[in-house]
């Protein structure tokens, strides 16, 4: 079940969303991507655990071509951590929770 703590972002809202006061982790995904679906539950767990400290958002790259192009995304799942509107770091592939936590911690 989709967690209501994970925001769904689109191209129009993107720039505003990543300017938010707390860091934002964006999961670029698509419905046809098996590894993206596989990490879905991990992303939802993290959204629960980091509630109030980190915004976790998903962007469907099929519906939103502009933002992935801007960040040169040519492989998914790609997860990018933003802080004050800037890219802190990113990771690609069906990585485990510990690697995602390590990425998130870079925003502190």
């Amino acid at each position: 079940m989709a967690s209501d703590k994970v925001q769904q972002l689109n191209d129009a809202e993107f720039d505003t969303a990543i300017q938010s006061a707390q860091p934002t982790l964006v999961d670029f995904w698509a419905p046809w991507c098996g590894p993206c679906k596989a990490i879905g539950p991990v992303i939802e767990d993290l959204a629960d655990e980091y509630e109030g400290k980190l915004t976790i958002a998903k962007m469907n790259v099929d519906d939103n071509p502009v933002t992935p192009g801007k960040f040169g995304i040519r492989a998914i799942p790609t997860l990018i951590l933003f802080k004050d509107g800037q890219v802190v770091d990113q990771i690609t592939g069906a990585v485990g929770k510990s690697q995602l936590v390590a990425l998130i911690e870079k925003g502190n």
């Binding site: 098996g34 590894p35 069906a94």
Partner: protein
């Protein structure tokens, strides 16, 4: 996670999930340790058409989901952790060091570490990774809409992915070092009938070039003749290398690549240590034999545990 288990299964691909099913049904004191999410390389497969029992075929993701659900129905215990080193010097207690500094031990261990895509090891490959160099057509194909891409390789994965890429790319050029494909005949027939796929035979890639993104591949053929191929993507699908980091390869008598030899009962050279799936030294790496080996490995583990008592 506890400090000790009767059985640890390392890795959650088809071999590990099948071993997990058998271990859970045998009510062994077990844990399956997976570093990421269950599935392994199957997750990188768009469509699985050769796993018995699914006459219509299914996606790699769906197959993994079904395998996971199946094992969980019998209370498979899965933990997420990254194993950095395995100490098999003491037969009575095999010790796995974890990334977080902790360790966990077991009486019997099943290695289902799997394998990862081979790299070409040519200039430009590492730099262009994610910028046109890919090891998974299924994952990245839609980013290459109306582009010309190359597939390097001639096996099942390479040709199946070349076919999949034609759904998005305008043209797919297969570069193969031999003059014929190694892929299964059915896969070859489909690929040869697809007019978006062409072939460069008897050739190898010597370097990948481009200004920030892949623009061309430099090739050399078997007679030493050089050429360049203008493409926007290079999908490198040339077999696999074992996920061998942290394994005591000498004790396990690993082959020169790091694959682990096993007997017909999935036993390795170390008593109480089994191996299953793509980590094994063997010639056929299919989902169906990985799953079969996982089952055999658990039965061998049970036998080992019984003899110890």
């Amino acid at each position: 996670m506890k400090d000790h288990y009767e059985l640890i299964i390392l890795g959650g691909g088809p071999a590990g999930l099948s071993a997990g099913l058998y271990a859970a049904r045998a009510r062994l004191d077990h844990v399956l340790i997976e570093k990421g999410v269950p599935g392994g390389q199957v997750l990188l497969t768009d469509w699985v058409d050769n796993y018995p029992g699914f006459p219509e075929g299914l996606t790699g993701f769906d197959l993994v989901e079904k395998m996971t659900q199946h094992a969980k129905r019998f209370d498979l215990n899965i933990e997420t952790a990254c194993v950095t080193k395995i100490d098999l010097s003491d037969e009575t207690s095999k010790v796995l060091q974890l990334e977080d500094g902790k360790s966990v031990s077991c009486d019997t261990l099943i290695l289902c570490n799997g394998a990862s895509a081979n790299t070409l090891n040519v200039p430009g490959e590492q730099e262009m990774r994610g910028k046109g160099v890919s090891y998974c057509g299924t994952c990245d194909a839609p980013f290459y809409r109306n582009m010309h891409v190359a597939v390097i390789g001639g096996g099942n994965t390479a040709i199946q992915e070349a076919e999949y890429l034609t759904k998005f790319a305008s043209k797919v050029t297969v570069i193969h070092r031999r003059d014929e494909l190694r892929a299964t005949k059915v896969i070859q027939e489909i690929a040869f009938a697809n007019d978006k796929i062409d072939y460069v035979w008897n050739s190898q890639v010597v370097s990948i070039e481009g200004d920030n993104e892949v623009e061309r591949l430099n090739l050399i053929d078997k007679d030493g003749k050089k050429s360049a191929l203008e493409v926007q993507g290079a999908f490198i699908l040339i077999g696999v290398t074992p996920n061998k980091d942290g394994l005591p390869l000498d004790l396990l008598k690993a082959d020169k690549w790091g694959f682990i030899p096993t007997d017909v009962e999935a036993r390795t050279a170390v008593p109480g240590v089994m191996a299953a799936g793509d980590i094994c030294s063997k010639s056929v790496r299919q989902i169906v034999n990985a799953a079969g080996e996982g089952a055999v490995a658990v039965l061998s583990a049970e036998e080992y545990l019984q003899n110890k008592k």
